[in-house]
């Protein structure tokens, strides 16, 4: 956080930075929610040791590789394995259980970031004996983040939260079966077999169309970073990527009621924010 009152970022300078990223590199953050975006810009100033947004623009302008890095630092969001265990119980017991006799389950993790939700899903599918027939796409705007997700390596300090969330799932399985601790005890790595059916794919949810159709789309705590207009557009993309009867999961404090596609969905769980596509 910036503590120097003289450097409070104006709306104008924030918009200028968004315009620069779009016009120079095609990265479109113009419809991001302002408060969190402003915080990410402050983080960028710190990260690139820049004294001002103008200086930041000069640096990124001169060096395209910094642009990709900037996008990572803007969008990276800490999530956790099995965030909201009650959501994952509902997902398991009322959504995934419907696919027990289906030949295939097609799942899209839209804007999967560092992949925690992907591994959470794969572990639950494995526990249910459904992993073999899952066809999973995990997409993100940033290739470095995707590479992290694919590696399955996470800091060991994440394990406390993961364990306490996992315990709340009420499953007979053992979390220890799914990861190994590195020899220097700083990281854990989830088993590669978990993601054997996962296709990691670079995709910009903000500016690109969907690329296939799915039974389940997870996009949890992604659209909170967008403004109304962008939420609406992204919901169109997601809705078009779901089969009739498919399911959408969003974050526990997100809502789609304001989106024009809301009429295409019916809540399966109001509490856990799981919707069924009815058209």
């Amino acid at each position: 956080m910036l503590l120097n009152k003289d450097t409070d970022l104006s709306l104008t300078i924030i918009k200028q930075f968004q315009t620069f990223l779009f016009e120079k590199y095609g990265y479109d953050f113009r419809d991001y929610a302002l408060s969190s975006f402003k915080r990410r810009v402050e983080h960028l100033l710190f990260f690139f040791k820049s004294g001002s947004v103008n200086d930041l623009i000069r640096k990124i302008d001169a060096n395209p590789s910094l642009a990709e890095q900037a996008v990572k630092e803007i969008t990276v969001n800490t999530t956790e394995m099995f965030r909201d265990p009650s959501f994952w119980r509902k997902m398991r017991d009322e959504v995934l259980s419907q696919f027990v006799s289906s030949p295939v389950i097609r799942i899209w993790h839209a804007a999967c970031s560092s992949g925690e939700e992907v591994y959470s899903m794969c572990i639950i599918l494995q526990e249910m004996g459904l992993l073999d027939k899952a066809r999973i796409f995990a997409s993100d705007i940033n290739s470095e983040v995707l590479a992290n997700a694919k590696s399955g390596v996470y800091p060991i300090r994440s394990l406390d939260t993961t364990k306490s969330n996992f315990d709340r799932l009420g499953t007979s399985g053992k979390l220890e079966n799914y990861y190994k601790v590195s020899s220097d005890q700083t990281t854990i790595k989830y088993n590669e077999s978990l993601i054997k059916n996962v296709n990691f794919r670079k995709h910009n949810l903000v500016s690109e169309e969907g690329f296939s159709k799915f039974d389940i789309v997870l996009c949890r705590n992604v659209m909170i970073y967008f403004n109304f207009d962008l939420q609406d557009r992204v919901m169109d993309t997601i809705s078009n990527s779901l089969f009739k009867g498919g399911f959408l999961a969003i974050g526990s404090k997100e809502t789609i009621v304001w989106c024009s596609t809301a009429k295409d969905f019916q809540p399966l769980s109001v509490e856990e924010k799981i919707y069924k596509k009815i058209v």
Binding site: M1, L2, A33, K38, S164, I224, F228, K253
Partner: protein, 189 residues
Amino acid sequence: MERFKVIVIGGSAGSFQVVTRILAALPANFNIPVVLCLHRLKHIRSGFEEVLNKKSTLKVIEPEDKTKLQKGYVYLAPANYHLYAEINGTLSLSTEESVSFSRPSIDLTFDTFSYVYKNKMLGIILSGANRDGLNGCILAKARGTTLIAQSLEEAEIQTMPESIIQQQLPTYILKTEDIIKKIIALNKL
């Protein structure tokens, strides 16, 4: 005091009783939205809103993302999210990293609200066992926000109000009953 557009209250350990006393004392026609950023257990999503509603005259809600800030309501930062203000009068949520081991973080709520509301915000820091809120109050003060700290004689745990008093940030240092008087007086402005 000024005419405020929002009252933001931050608190942690030892603040619950104070918050419920304030909420119980507000008149039903209170015309400034109240925002609560209170440290809470991240895995317990429900229950807190209900308990506060039991004591409160105004309706306490845990806002969903993009909820409009309106008078007559008390907005409680939901578990495991940061609560931000947006310039179009709505609230937004974030899952960015915890600050001082806290999500919701008082620092971030005070930062974003004071950026939007500046001298139209009244910020109140109650009892708490860590210094989350200090950085947010430093930013808020620089933007003209009026700050109140719960008095140290009364605060159950002093660390949080003490941290902002040491930096001479609060305009007022008050006991709960005087905080309540001050807030209720705002309704007449």
